[in-house]
């Protein structure tokens, strides 16, 4: 049995005005477990807290009930008081007789009566309280960033700046991501490479950062502060530490008709290749599907020409196991496939391209050295048609497109159109739009410049179909303002394809037990207040893996994620919330109901041996809650059919005791 002390606060007249505090403390004196009851003007004051401490000592109290303002106000205060008096802080319960009683009820009788009942409920609960100790777990002071695009790069740099080691895992042979493929960036039109590649070099040169390029995360175990991660470093058949990136091997490689992924297949590369000149690491990679030496042992030229002796045809995938305190997901995006949009003849004509392809086409380092020409015949296009919202905001066609707005298309299309008109004033440029969305600093000005200064023809309407005819693309579209159907003969059509999360994100989310929405974007812990954290503790989100974003937004989020990581890594130990779920192994069935509803992946299962009442042993699957991961929502407690799952601080019997006390 608890020895409970009850302390009724007047809160000046705030409580005492509508509640007879004397009567309350008198009435509660007789409750089971109560050995001391008093009231005072301001319990939260120094004197009030002293009164509590003294009473704890004099009456050997084991539990404290404070009838006062909301626990959201002073629960922490009175818990500290309890600690100072030598009690466990979780032996304190607050009866909220101000916000939820004296301030909302005018009648003293009713208010007093209710205050007594609320006090009784708190006493009933505290009678069942047990001291709780938050768990502590050490923090491994190293971060993992998954994805080496601008988001991952920025996050890694910021974390490393704070002095913590960071590993960046990138599945391509080079970091850089989508931004490396871009030509110019809106709305300032500075060149993407000019601002990105210095950052890539910074990453390479930062001694706190390790880059695992051409690598994938294959397994994640553990929890915040201590994630055990397995990384598979795929064999690139070139010794990374030996290769100087001179490119001699590339030049001599006889297999030169391999579609170049970096240029989206618009030109070719060799079987041994460096994706682009500023690649980091600037190391060659052999494509095992294309290399003759690897396929049938014939060739070996690259090995012969490599002065450094970096070629290693026998290289194997390498498995790296490392522990991290925090993980940042920066897996980025891809444009969706245009294969299914038959109406735009993407599969039929080389001159119907996506915007990302257009970026490569206009990029000085691209397949045409920046000359805007038609991919089909290399001729200069005169009429260009840009189509917006291809696959975005597409509700009826889940198999084709996406329901959401891809956010960046309006701006990059304006950029494309403007740059085209700027470089080639002889062109006619049409942009078909549903809406033009330009929220952002200098964004609308940018769009208006495209229209007003560069004469881009924005048409409110949509392209219905495109038919290649001869060397023209017959474009049929609507102009809703003119209420006309337009028929244009275009030379080049650029589709603003919707963007989607990278396909590696879904399996990664499963490994991380991080939640995703139906579109495979990672869910943030709170859409407004915790936008860069995943609900899974220790997992943070950077860039477009969380939702469509442009570069400035991505970089800000990357920095925010980094600051959250730093905030975590500076701690030596993580102190958990002790109000976490606990599974009673004796009554747990191992049915997985709790696991299914846990938003944090805090529940795992163990096969445990039990000594049964009949003296046999039985191996049973039982739930085990990781207190470092559990946030204490209690969803599992209700999902559990056997009642094996309970929640510290809000135990079933405590809540029922409160119910009983209130309904008495």
């Amino acid at each position: 049995m608890q020895r409970v002390g009850v302390f009724v606060c007047w809160c000046g007249s705030n409580i005492a005005g509508t509640v007879d505090v004397q009567a309350v403390s008198e009435a509660l004196k007789n409750e089971p477990g109560v050995v001391f009851s008093a009231n005072y003007q301001y319990m939260c004051s120094q004197a009030g807290q002293e009164m509590i401490k003294t009473a704890v000592k004099e009456h050997h109290l084991t539990g404290i009930v404070v009838c006062s303002c909301s626990p959201r106000m002073h629960e922490a205060t009175f818990r500290k008081t309890a600690v100072a008096a030598g009690l466990n802080p979780y032996m304190v319960e607050i009866a909220n007789i101000r916000e939820q009683c004296s301030w909302v009820h005018k009648d003293v009788t009713a208010g007093t009566e209710k205050a007594i009942i609320l006090g009784k409920a708190a006493i009933a609960k505290v009678n069942l309280n047990t001291p709780l100790t938050p768990g502590e777990s050490p923090v491994t002071k190293r971060a993992l960033v998954i994805g080496g695009g601008i988001a991952g790069i920025q996050t890694a740099l910021d974390i490393a700046d704070a002095g913590f080691p960071v590993d960046v895992v990138e599945k391509q042979p080079t970091i850089g991501g989508k931004m490396a493929q871009l030509d110019k960036t809106f709305p300032t039109l500075d060149c993407a490479a000019c601002i990105l590649t210095p950052k890539m070099v910074d990453v390479a040169q930062n001694d706190k950062i390790r880059i695992f390029s051409y690598s994938e995360v294959t397994d994640v175990r553990g929890f915040v502060g201590n994630f055990d991660v397995t990384i598979k470093k795929k064999a690139r058949f070139v010794k990374e530490d030996v290769c100087t990136g001179c490119g001699a091997c590339v030049e001599k490689c006889p297999m030169k008709k391999i579609p170049n992924e970096f240029n989206l297949g618009m030109d070719n590369r060799h079987a041994i290749y460096i994706p682009f000149a500023q690649a980091v690491p600037k190391v060659a990679t052999i494509d095992p599907d294309a290399c003759n030496m690897l396929k049938n042992g014939k060739c070996g030229i690259c090995s012969k020409v490599c002065a450094a002796g970096a070629i290693d045809y026998k290289q194997k995938d390498e498995i790296i196991e490392e522990t991290y305190g925090a993980i940042v997901v920066a897996t980025g995006f891809n444009p969706i496939s245009m294969e299914k949009f038959d109406e735009y003849a993407y599969s039929q004509s080389k001159d119907v391209i996506t915007s990302l392809e257009f970026e490569r086409l206009t990029n000085a380092a691209g397949p045409t050295a920046g000359m805007l020409v038609r991919p089909s015949d290399g001729k200069h296009p005169h009429t260009l048609v840009f189509v917006q919202c291809v696959g975005s905001r597409c509700e009826s066609c889940a198999e084709k497109g996406k329901e959401y707005c891809s956010k960046i298309c309006c701006m990059y299309t304006a950029k494309h159109a403007m740059l085209t008109r700027d470089k080639y004033p002889d062109t006619e440029v049409y942009v078909f739009y549903v809406d033009v969305r330009t929220p952002g600093k200098n964004f609308d000005e940018f769009y208006r410049r495209a229209v007003e200064e560069y004469g881009v023809k924005y048409v409110k309407g949509m392209v219905g179909k495109i038919v290649p005819e001869g060397d023209k693309l017959k474009v049929q579209a609507s102009d809703l303002i003119a209420n006309k159907q337009l028929h244009l003969d275009a030379d080049l059509v650029v589709l603003a394809a919707a963007i989607e999360p990278d396909h590696s994100a879904r399996p990664l989310a499963t490994m991380l037990t991080a939640s995703m929405d139906t579109n495979d974007f990672f869910t943030e812990a709170h859409p407004k207040l915790r936008p860069v954290e995943s609900p899974t503790a220790g997992v943070f989100l950077s860039g477009t893996c969380q939702g469509p974003k442009d570069i400035p937004e991505t970089v800000s989020q990357a920095g925010a994620a980094a600051s959250k990581v730093i905030g975590l890594l500076v701690k030596d130990k993580l102190t958990g919330n002790p109000c976490v779920a606990i599974a009673n192994e004796l009554t747990c069935n191992g049915c997985s109901s709790c696991e299914r509803v846990c938003p944090y992946g805090a529940i795992s299962y163990l096969d445990k041996e039990f000594r049964m009442p009949d003296r046999t042993t039985k191996i049973r699957r039982v739930a085990s809650v990781n207190p470092a991961v559990c946030q204490g929502c209690g969803a599992c407690t209700v999902a559990c059919p056997s009642g094996a799952m309970d929640l510290n601080g809000f135990m079933n019997n405590q809540i029922m005791a409160e119910v009983d006390a209130i309904c008495k």
């Binding site: 919202c389 509700e395 066609c397 549903v434 219905g464 179909k465 579209a477």
Partner: protein
């Protein structure tokens, strides 16, 4: 223009289309092969039904210019199905002309030995909604 809400409801019910889903992109009209023949275009059908401005549609030749090729239904990103709206307005016009509500009892009267069953099916489809 007096907006007719009852008629609007009726047309929405008949067509099964939720015109509020339209984001006014105009892809239906962009796609329409009969566009130039029409006074009111597919997106206008959707838009005008949405605001209940249906009388002009009912008296427009456009009703009969729609080929029911369903290209707009296929292409619409929002699943609005403009052709079904046109069909419903057309049906409303037909009903007003009296050729409305065929019942099974009427069948024996109009049935001839060589009437293809397909005809009956499509007649029912048209006149009994």
């Amino acid at each position: 223009m007096k907006h007719n809400n009852d008629l609007r409801e009726e047309i929405l019910r008949m067509s099964g289309v939720d015109t509020a889903k339209c984001m006014k992109c105009g892809k239906c009209s962009a796609t329409c092969p009969a566009y130039d023949e029409m006074e009111y275009h597919p997106h206008q059908f959707v838009g005008m039904v949405e605001i209940g401005e249906i009388e002009p549609l009912l008296s427009s030749e456009s009703l009969y210019k729609c080929l029911s090729c369903f290209a707009c239904v296929d292409r619409c990103p929002r699943g609005v199905a403009p052709a079904k709206v046109v069909e419903a307005v057309r049906l409303t016009a037909i009903r007003r002309q009296g050729a409305n509500h065929m019942t099974a009892n009427d069948v024996p009267l109009i049935l001839e030995t060589d009437t293809p069953p397909q005809l009956l099916v499509s007649a029912f489809r048209k006149y009994t909604k």
